[in-house]
Each structure stands twice: as structure tokens, then as C-alpha cells.
Symmetry: C2
Subunit: 484 residues, 2 copies
């Protein structure tokens, strides 16, 4: 990927692409671009660690280069994120177009300029479209795609697939208008907000409160039409428009004017905004924003709603990309995949809650069960294993950011039971952090009662038990609890 | 509380108040009000069960009554939620005012009418203000408070305290304007959205996507000014307005007109909205909305952001209200508080994840530690207990909605160790669902190493151990795991 421009948006693109495993070359003559890109990448890394336990691929290489030619050589995508001046963008895009490989896509991050104007001087305008992201680019999934008069249809679908593969939600804007769709809505709300301050009705903090304690929570996953549809009951929008449409006739909002950004208004807004920030720097606010966005995305993923569905699709992609051949059963204990302990597992005392240790071990048990053939087909046929007993030993403490993995040894089994021993290890260290001994019982999920296992699971459990019998028995297996 | 009107808003108020332990009398002549109120209360109950583990008080009594007089007799608050017709509301409020106790507050849920007009015919207009909530009233914390010309200042502060006590975030609108603050912002965005459909630029689903995959996620906790402040860097709003203010001069949005709600436009919107709903009924959409809102509120609470801070404050209030005298140490095992298993603890197989059992037991251990004197002062002095071993036995399965509690018995202790046995029980049933045997080690949190306990903890642990020595030893204590 070639990035032209390393401001907040360009740096956000760099972070998203590099962390998704793409090599990036970034061209920005400004000397501060290098630091900004590094800082945004660090923020993105921290956010992704908390966002998902899915393993990311090896990071791509990020190189700051000195010319457009160097940036675009051999790339699949050129993404321009220069300041919003049409001549400057047009020139940059034309130059990149001349030097980039013929098969590469060329996109602009513009938030309002029309693609037809931007592609005017390109030799291959058919491969150009707008790809307008939202800040922070590495967390918000929306990217508006809009083609100009000379854009090929194929360009939009190729761009859609490309942005989807790095976890985004492409929205094709079918009609070329200034500001596309999202920024028109933002502008309408923003202008009304400015009027409310201008008229002394409310402060900036009160206006933000009016959003974030109410409608903002619905907007986060429903938008505006779906929200109002509910108000219309089973008749939906027809009923809602009949009932509330007339209210638009006596509009409350300022329609015909744009507030004059006098020095006085700017100072009022700025002073109120300073009070609202209460000493938090832009940096601190950015980090707060990221932390909360991560939480929201996780919450939405749990419900499969809105941006959460995008995250879930991205995670599936990451898992496929990094899947390892299962059942490398060389006779040693089974090694599970590495996971990184997210910062939000740490409680107010600086400790990881004990139930999180069991979560890691239960994941290892799930991995073992998949290895011996308990897959979706076996589950659908009513066979499964339930945990009936667990003996946890806590030896050393987990820290946020630790790269850990679980090794699993089968100690014993029969046609109903599976006795396993897990060890939680930190990468590169021989001493266990914790151990878990578990007894699993094979059940018929229809009746809920114990039942003998069936092939292929039965055979694979027996085979694994036989192989692991040669391993040394863990010292603490069979341990009971007591003050000794 | 007296509620006048049992539509969606009135029913939402009923649910919030009743579940917060207030007795409610609701007056609505419409025959369908009774069913609606019952259904909304059921939805709210389901949402609250997932929202928090904090214990709610005993539900208040909800009575549908036949007259305003009956509704308002003896109440502390009259909340009117009739249709948005000024004459009707003015009449209802005047009648309620005559019959209600002189000390009661009288509020209207109007979303746009001015309080001065509404209080015009009241005998005691000083006790009136607008209290404008957002749907669903039992989940969204925002309530806009706005007084009229004859409203006493005291009325607004009393109303603020009252709504805060049922988990809401009151926002005082200091200037009396049509539509207050929130609905002006919503209307501005909504009108622009209608134009985009009218002009054929985007469908209702695309417009909603443009919100919920992007800016909507930021609005959920930051609002609009705080978001833009970040874009201004350390210079904040001054820089942002200098850079982006001029864009308002060439506005993208429709300013001067209101779209004509022609039959054709209504049908276009309605058909697109039907497609967006994809067969989901209003009921189903409502339930989806509530599920996602609960998740979002929990996510925000984890970060102390926006509406999450309101939820946390509400939980503290609920915990205070329902706190029981600790250390009722009669020699029997310690009984922990009842908690209800939230629906979202259940996984795709219909099971509660094993780590949730340990969460319940770990909470019981925390309760035990508080009982023996490990409080915030003891922790601040560097003393604490860490779990070093846990032996879990799963006997029967938990179900969503189960009311469960944990009993805890101290089996043994010395000056460093505390050996306990927990039993998880379902209300009214003698057979345990699961047990957990735990060994806790007293540590010096500064060094991280084992250390002897100090008084008062040392003495209380010894005393509790002595008393519990008389209890029968649980059969499965000291159990080790193995295929027998």
C-alpha cells in the first residue's frame, strides 16, 4: 500500500494496514509525519490487543519514503490523504497514477470533494474512487466509497473487497454529491449545535450530554431510520411519518442561516470546550476515546449488531489467515496458540481475576476437543464433553500484555471420561504461571446424562491417551487441597 | 408516582419507577394501556436482569386507575405523558395540580412544547417543569429538565434528585426553547436524512449504516464537540474551528427547505424501511435494541464513560439500598447475597461458561474477606489474600434467570492460610449446583510474597475457623481428581 500524506488520517491508514500485515510506504514531506505515524501505530497496537484475542498476522513493514515514485512502486493500492485542497489532491493523484502499477487502485480520503473533479487529470481515471474513512481510522469500520464519472464499476467492488479484508465496512455512495452521506448528516447536527451555543441556549458540554446520554446510544448501532421505525410500531415508517412528519412543518432548528463564526463565538466555544476537557490533553482524550470504542465494538460484537458484525467477520478472517495445522500430535503435550493478555483483564488491584485463568484453560480444553474430533457435526449429533471437576493452582501472576499459551496432557481416559492436565506458560519462560487439572465427562446433550463417546472421538481419545502415557506425570496431578 | 398516559413513554416511566421500588398509579382511558404497560415492564425486567448484578429493591406496586384524582392522591411526583397537544396537556396538568398533594412535583414528558404554555392554567405553576425522557425510558438515562417562567428554581433541583435516584442523568435546559436541546439536534440530522432519501442519494439502510459504522460510535459516548476537539489537537476547538469552520460557508446540507412529505416520498421511505427490517417486527426490533443497549451501557460502565458512569452511580445506590448487616456469624456457614444469572452468561450451547461459576465463587470469597476485616484500609496497608488453589466440582447446570447464592465454610486456617469450602445453591433447593474448595494465602502486596496476617483479620479468621470447626466437613473436601 502507498500512502500519500501522513496526517491524522494518513497515519490512521498506516496503522490499519501495517497491523493487518500489509507493507506500507508513506510519502509525506512534513518532518513531523514520522513521529505521528509511529505514535498512531502504537495507539492502534494497544487498541487491537484489547479488541480481540484473534491472532493478528506478522506486522507489515512501514517505510517513510522521499518521493511519490518510491511510494507507489509495485503497490496494489494508492491512498491519498492530503489536505482538502482540490488542486493539490488532483496533482498528487495524477502523479501517483503515472507511476503506480497499472493494476493498482487509486483512492482519495477526501471527506467532501467530488471524485469527478479529483480524477480529472489522471491517465487512468477508471481505477480511481473516493474511500473516505472516519477517525480513528484503525477502529471505526466505516469507509464511504464513491466513484466519479470516469470510474469503472469494477473499481468500487475491488476497493470494497480490499477494505473489507482489513476489517472495514465499505458503504458505496451511488450518487456523486459534495460531502457524500455521512458528513452531510454530521454537518446538519454540527451546525445546529453551533447555533445552540451561539444563542446561549446550552454549553458545548450540555450539548454533548444531550447526545451521549440519549440518542447517541441508539445511533451507535441503529442509526436514525431504524430507531424511528420502532416508534411507528408494527406499521413502521408509514405510521411514524404520519404522526411525526407534520412536526417538520414548524421546524425547531435553524434552517435558513449559518452562524457567523465571530471571534466572540469562537472564544465562547473554545473556552467551554476547555472546561469540558478539564485539563485532559488531546492525547489523553484520544486514548480515552480508543479505550471506550474498543469496549463498544466488543459489546456490539457480542450482539452481532452494527460494527460488531464487521469486527466478527474480521476476526474470522484473521483466524483463517493464521490457522495452524491441527493435530500435530508428535507425542508431546499439545501446544495451544499464543494469546496476549488484554489490559482490561486487570482489576483495580493490578491482578488478573482468577476466573480469567479458567477462561484460558477452558479455551485449551475446547482446542483439545476439536483435536480429537468434537466438531460442529459431532455436537449436532448430540455428543459433547462437559467439565465436571477442575483443580486450579495459581503459581505466578499474569500481567497485561503477557504472551501466554497452554500445554495440555491427557492423563487418563475411558469411554466416558477424559482426565487432562493443562499448564499455562509465558512465552520463553519454563516456569508455569498456573495449572489446571480437569475431569471431563462425555454426555448425550439431548438427555443431559453421561453417555459413551463415539468414533471418531472415541478412537482419537484412546490414541492420544496412549501417546501421552509415555510423558512424565505432572507432580501436582491428583493433588488435593489442605493446610499441610 | 402518578403517571398520566400509558403510551410508549408512559409505559417506559412505569417500568423504570416500579422496578426501582416506587409504587405507581397510572391513568390512561385507552383500553390497550394495561397490556402495553405490562409488556414494557416485562421488557424492562429482562433488560435490568442482564444490565447489572446489583440487587434491585422489591418491585413497587403498579395499579391502573380510572381517574386523575385516584392517580395523584398522596404521590410525590405526577408525570404527564399524553399526546403532544398543548390544550390537552394543559388541561390534564391543571386537573392533576388541583388534586395532587401540595408538596408533589408535577412534570410533563413533552418533547417540544414550552413549559410556560403548559403551566398556564395550574394553581401551583411553581412546582411544574418539563422532564423529557428518551425511548426506551427504562434504559436511556437522559432526561431534559426545563422550567417555565413561573417555575421555582427549587423545582428543578428536586426533580433532578428524584430522577437521578432512579438511575437517570438529568440535563437542565436553562433557556426555554421549542424542542429543548436534544430534539433540535435529532431534528437537524433527521431532516437531512429525509432529503438524502428524497433526492435518491441513499436508502434508509445506507443512511443508517453511514451513522452506525462511523460517527454513531463516537456519539454514543463523546457527543459532537468533544469529538471535534480531538481533531483540533492540543489547540482544541480554536484550531478546529479555524480549520473546518469555513466549510460551513459552502454548506453541503439542505438549509432553506423542508422536504415535502409527498405520498411518493412516504412510500419510498416506508418500502426501504420494510426492506431494512427484513421481516423483523417492531417487537423484535425493540428487543434487539434493548439487548444491544444493555451491552453498550455495560461497556461504557467498564470505562466509566458517559452513560456508563450514570449506571455505576445507580448501582452504588441500589447496593446501599439493599445492603444487609454483615457478619451475622451465628456459627453456620456464611450465606452470600442472592444474585440472578443474566441471560448473556449462556453460551451458544445453552450452557453457562465454567469460568462464570468461578466468578460467583470468587465473589463469595471477596465477601468472606470483607467479613473478616479485609477492607479498603487493610488493603491500603498492603495486606491481602490471594487464591493459590481452587477445586471446582460441577454437579448440576445453571440456567439463565436462576436466583442463586453461595454458602461459605472455613475448613481450616493458620496465620498465613485460609482454607474454605463454597457451595452454590439455587433458591429453595437443597442440592448444590457446584462446589469450590479454595486455599487462600495471605500476602504482603508490596513485596508480593506470603506474609502473616495482622489483626483484626488474624483474630477474626481464627474465631471464624473455631466456630466453623463444629460444622460437618463437606464430603468432597480434600478430593483429588482421577478416573476411579
Amino acid at each position: 500500500v502507498a500512502l500519500l500524506g501522513g496526517g491524522v488520517i494518513g497515519a490512521g491508514w498506516a496503522a490499519r494496514f501495517v497491523l493487518n500485515g500489509c507493507d506500507v510506504r508513506l510519502y509525506d514531506p512534513a518532518p513531523e509525519a514520522r513521529d505521528r505515524v509511529a505514535q498512531v501505530a502504537a495507539d492502534a497496537r494497544a487498541a487491537y490487543e484489547r479488541l480481540t484475542l484473534a491472532p493478528f498476522p506478522q506486522e507489515g513493514e512501514l517505510r517513510i519514503v522521499d518521493s511519490i515514485d518510491e511510494a507507489v512502486a509495485g503497490v496494489e493500492l494508492v491512498q491519498e490523504s492530503a489536505p482538502e485542497r482540490v488542486e493539490r489532491k488532483r496533482m498528487l493523484l495524477a502523479e501517483a497514477d503515472r507511476a503506480a502499477p497499472p493494476g493498482a487502485l487509486v483512492c482519495s480520503s477526501t471527506s467532501g470533494l467530488r471524485p469527478t473533479e479529483l480524477q480529472a487529470e489522471m491517465e487512468r481515471p477508471e481505477r480511481f474512487c473516493v474511500a473516505h474513512p472516519f477517525n480513528p481510522v484503525y477502529l471505526l469500520p466505516l469507509v464511504e466509497l464513491c466513484g466519479g464519472e470516469r470510474t469503472a464499476t469494477d473499481t468500487l467492488s475491488r476497493a470494497g473487497a480490499l477494505f473489507r479484508s482489513v476489517g472495514m465496512h465499505p458503504l458505496v455512495v451511488r450518487t456523486e454529491i459534495d460531502g457524500f452521506v455521512a458528513d452531510r448528516l454530521l454537518e446538519a447536527l454540527w451546525r445546529e449545535a453551533l447555533w445552540l451555543v451561539n444563542d446561549g441556549v446550552a454549553t458545548v458540554d450540555e450539548i454533548d450530554d444531550a447526545i451521549r446520554y440519549g440518542a447517541g446510544l441508539r445511533w451507535a448501532f441503529m442509526g436514525t431510520f431504524l430507531t424511528y421505525r420502532i416508534a411507528g410500531g408494527d406499521e413502521g415508517m408509514r405510521h411514524f411519518l404520519r404522526q411525526f412528519g407534520p412536526a417538520l412543518r414548524w421546524p425547531w432548528t435553524h434552517l435558513t442561516e449559518v452562524p457567523e463564526l465571530t471571534h466572540e463565538l469562537v472564544e465562547t466555544i473554545a473556552a467551554q470546550s476547555d472546561a469540558q476537557a478539564a485539563g485532559r490533553s488531546a492525547r489523553e482524550l484520544e486514548q480515552e476515546r480508543d479505550r471506550v470504542l474498543v469496549r463498544l465494538l466488543q459489546a456490539l460484537r457480542a450482539e452481532g449488531a452494527g460494527a460488531g458484525a464487521t469486527l466478527a467477520a474480521w476476526e474470522r478472517e484473521l483466524l483463517d489467515m493464521t490457522a495452524v495445522a491441527s493435530a500435530e500430535l508428535d507425542g508431546g503435550p499439545i501446544h495451544g496458540p499464543e494469546t496476549r493478555i488484554p489490559a482490561d483483564w486487570v482489576d483495580y488491584n493490578g491482578h488478573v481475576h482468577e476466573s480469567r485463568y479458567l477462561e484460558l484453560f477452558a479455551d485449551a480444553t475446547d482446542g483439545l476437543l476439536r483435536t480429537v474430533g468434537v466438531d460442529s457435526g459431532y455436537l449436532a449429533d448430540g455428543g459433547s464433553y462437559f467439565t465436571v471437576e477442575t483443580h486450579l493452582s495459581h503459581l505466578r501472576q499474569l500481567q497485561a500484555g503477557d504472551c501466554v499459551y497452554v500445554t495440555t496432557q491427557v492423563l487418563d481416559s475411558d469411554d466416558k471420561r477424559l482426565h487432562v492436565f493443562h499448564v499455562l506458560l509465558r512465552r520463553g519462560e519454563p516456569d508455569p504461571l498456573a495449572t489446571a487439572e480437569q475431569m471431563l465427562l462425555h454426555v448425550d446433550t439431548a438427555s443431559g446424562g453421561a453417555a459413551t463417546s463415539r468414533d471418531p472421538v472415541r478412537g482419537q481419545v484412546a490414541e492420544l491417551t496412549r501417546r501421552h502415557a509415555a510423558l512424565p506425570r505432572p507432580e501436582s496431578a491428583g493433588r488435593s487441597i489442605g493446610v499441610r
